[in-house]
């Protein structure tokens, strides 16, 4: 007579019960639906941490004060997962109400996936719209306004004033001046001249491409000849010892850590670290990215805000965006995180105007270069970063790196469309 494996069934039943109980325990997703007057919850997705998260909370509070029937639910998703989560949700026709995205890398993909709500009519009705530069508005391939940037993060030059004073150097305004300063410091041998990221990722491209922007070259018109100066500069500076070979694997977070140790004279980094800089044990200052032939030019980075195409509360979501776009919100953001407001009149408010450390970034935002709207922009930046890393680590010469970059980018431009 077969003996029923009762213990096994019992075990399975227990596990099944546990699994079902766990399912009952957790709350079901989705924000409370409601018409006007009823309490609604706006879900906001971002990958912010540190100062940026503090800014988010400050603006949320500002918004909730004027909208007592709305609660903002901030969800922080680890950076690399935010896109996947948005795309996964979009594939099931779901999503948050509002989300922040790393616009210079993710916008083409999210836009094409239909993740964005059409903001055009909201924007046209927005009274303050003339305050914002064209670069702050992002349109999808169908001409719809889909993303708005209330702030931007830009690269500039941080310098260790304690070190510069030791060698009687002034903060450089041009690339040539930077080079002569770095020569002095390297010759003295006590400190390292430059901390800058050259890792095989968009970070590396983000750090060095401005050298080309300042010579009139953008991604759209890069050739082996026009790309060479950037790689040659990097090769020279590594060879001369201004830039450590380790920069070939440094992210911008790593370079910040290096600079804060006090052993580096210069750092290419951005305004988002202005708050963190206050912890420095040395005196420091900021200037614009060293100028080239066409002055000082950088790309506008940072996050843009969008409303999810699947939101149930588009009006409330737009009003949330307006909180960020408002003068008060922009200044709150700036005060908490150092992120530079894109609206013109924010630059004249005392909080922004009187911040000497932020001044170079505020000035820089007036002369930013435009990003190409190619769908392959992420791939292009990765190519540049990888070639830069090869040059710094001695695996490629500047000439071959420039040639390889140009070939790859030119084929990406053909494939990626956009305004290139």
């Amino acid at each position: 007579m077969r003996h029923l494996p009762t213990r096994w069934f019992a075990g399975t039943a227990v596990v099944a019960a546990l699994v079902l109980a766990a399912g009952a325990c957790s709350s079901s997703p989705g924000s409370a639906s409601g018409g006007s007057g009823q309490h609604i919850t706006l879900t906001v997705w971002s990958y912010f941490g540190g100062d940026q998260l503090a800014a988010l909370k400050a603006v949320d509070k500002l918004f909730e004060q004027t909208h007592p029937n709305v609660t903002v639910n901030e969800i922080v998703v680890p950076g690399p997962e935010l896109d996947t989560k948005l795309l996964a949700a979009a594939s099931t026709r779901a999503g948050p109400d509002v989300f922040f995205n790393n616009v210079v890398v993710d916008f083409p993909e999210l836009s094409a996936a239909g993740a964005f709500y059409n903001l055009t009519k909201f924007w046209h009705a927005y009274p303050d719209k003339s305050q914002f530069p064209a670069a702050a508005i992002w349109k999808g391939s169908n001409g719809q306004i889909q993303n708005v940037m209330s702030y931007s993060n830009l690269n500039g030059l941080f310098y260790n004033k304690t070190i510069l004073d030791q060698y009687h150097l002034t903060p450089p305004a041009t690339v040539t001046q930077l080079e002569s300063d770095m020569q002095v410091i390297t010759k003295a041998g006590k400190y390292t001249a430059l901390a800058a990221s050259a890792d095989p990722e968009p970070d590396g491209a983000w750090t060095w491409f401005p050298l080309l922007l300042e010579q009139g070259t953008n991604y759209c018109n890069v050739t082996a000849t026009s790309a060479a100066p950037m790689f040659q500069t990097v090769a020279n500076w590594t060879k001369a010892g201004y830039l450590p070979k380790e920069a070939a694997t440094w992210t911008q977070t790593d370079t910040w850590t290096q600079f804060m140790s006090g052993k580096y004279a210069f750092l290419v980094d951005g305004n988002w670290n202005l708050g963190a800089a206050k912890a420095a044990t040395f005196s420091w200052g900021t200037t614009q990215y060293p100028a080239g032939a066409d002055g000082s030019r950088v790309f506008p980075g940072g996050e843009a805000m969008g409303i999810s195409a699947f939101t149930k509360h588009p009006q409330a979501a737009w009003e949330y965006l307006e909180a960020w776009l408002s003068s008060q919100g922009s200044v709150l953001d700036f005060q908490n995180s150092g992120q530079i407001p894109t609206r013109a009149d924010a630059a004249t408010t005392p909080a922004v105007k009187d911040d000497t450390a932020a001044a170079p970034f505020v000035a820089a935002i007036k002369t930013v270069s435009a990003w190409p709207t190619s769908s392959k922009i992420a791939q292009m930046q990765t190519t540049v970063g990888t070639e830069l890393s090869d040059v710094v680590s001695g695996q490629a010469s500047a000439a071959s790196a420039a040639a390889a970059t140009a070939t790859a980018i030119q084929s990406d431009i053909k494939a990626g469309g956009g305004d290139c």
Partner: protein, 285 residues
């Protein structure tokens, strides 16, 4: 001849003292030094960690622990829930499967075993990030999205092939003669499985279950994508949050890592108690 179960091990069959000592010292150094770095970092304040992460001499503070312990507690409880249920599910489903893959009762079944093993190996080669979007749709269709149940289902399926493959060698250690004896006595599969195999598999189950627990605990791709928004984060996601593209809180990351790994150590030590040497000894004489 009753040296089985002796706590300090037999005199024979143990490695020479010198070799043993050297190996233990090298292991201790290579595993303790990084752990010490973590501990040191956890005792630094936000500022100290930012300005001098490599410094060995500094004024330690408990501030970081105080900051993170609130969020750490909730995360640990959630991770415990997820990992415990997933481990139980993997054990309940995986142990019989591993047993089935060790019994070549007929040439036909032997072919089935080969095919199933190959499939289990293939499934492990599917990159996990690429499974998120399809699985998101699957879980949504079954209304399991946003719940611990859905996450447990995904995690169980993720770890199951690995667990079955790992349990198989332990199941293979059951001596063939026991099966022959049982067959001659007229026992069916169920009796053999429950009365002979399971008791002899205690080592294997304890080892694989603790490994599975630790793996599920550390899994964060599914945890980030499949859980309810706004609810408590499990440990894996909480740790990932300490690094953003703009900044990194090394001290908080290390403090959290320490606090949230202690329960894992407890689980492992508990499982270790169940490992006994020479388990098959009494069965075959």
């Amino acid at each position: 001849m009753s040296r089985r179960g002796s706590r300090t091990g037999a005199q024979v069959g143990t490695p020479p003292r010198v070799l043993s000592g050297i190996v233990k010292v090298i292991l201790t150094v290579t595993y303790l030094v990084p752990l010490l770095w973590i501990v040191i970092e956890a005792f630094k304040s936000d500022n100290q960690s930012l300005t001098a992460p490599d410094a060995l001499i500094f004024a330690p503070t408990l501030a970081t622990f105080r900051t993170v312990i609130g969020t750490a507690t909730g995360s640990v409880l959630l991770s415990l829930l997820i990992a415990a249920i997933a481990t139980a599910a993997v054990t309940v489903v995986g142990v019989p499967a591993a047993y089935a893959l060790t019994r070549r009762t007929s040439p036909g079944w032997g072919r089935v075993i080969a095919v199933v093993l190959t499939i289990l190996l293939i499934l492990q080669m599917v990159p996990q990030p690429m499974t998120v979007i399809p699985l998101y749709g699957v879980l949504a269709r079954w209304h399991l999205l946003g719940s611990v149940t859905g996450l447990v289902v995904a995690d169980t399926a993720l770890v199951l092939p690995f667990s079955i493959l790992l349990l198989r060698p332990f199941a293979l250690a059951v001596p063939k003669s026991l099966y022959e004896a049982a067959a001659l006595d007229g026992a069916g599969n169920a009796q053999i499985f429950l009365r002979i195999v399971i008791p002899l598999l205690r080592n294997g189950i304890a080892t694989v279950a603790s490994i599975v627990f630790i793996i599920v605990w550390g899994e964060f791709i599914y945890a980030t994508n499949f859980l309810t928004e706004g609810s408590q984060l499990p440990v894996s996601a909480l740790l990932a949050e300490q690094i953003s593209i703009y900044s990194a809180n090394w001290n908080r990351l290390m403090a959290l890592a320490l606090l949230t790994s202690l329960p894992l150590l407890a689980v492992f030590l508990f499982a270790q108690r169940r490992l006994t040497a020479g388990l098959t000894l009494g069965a075959v004489r």
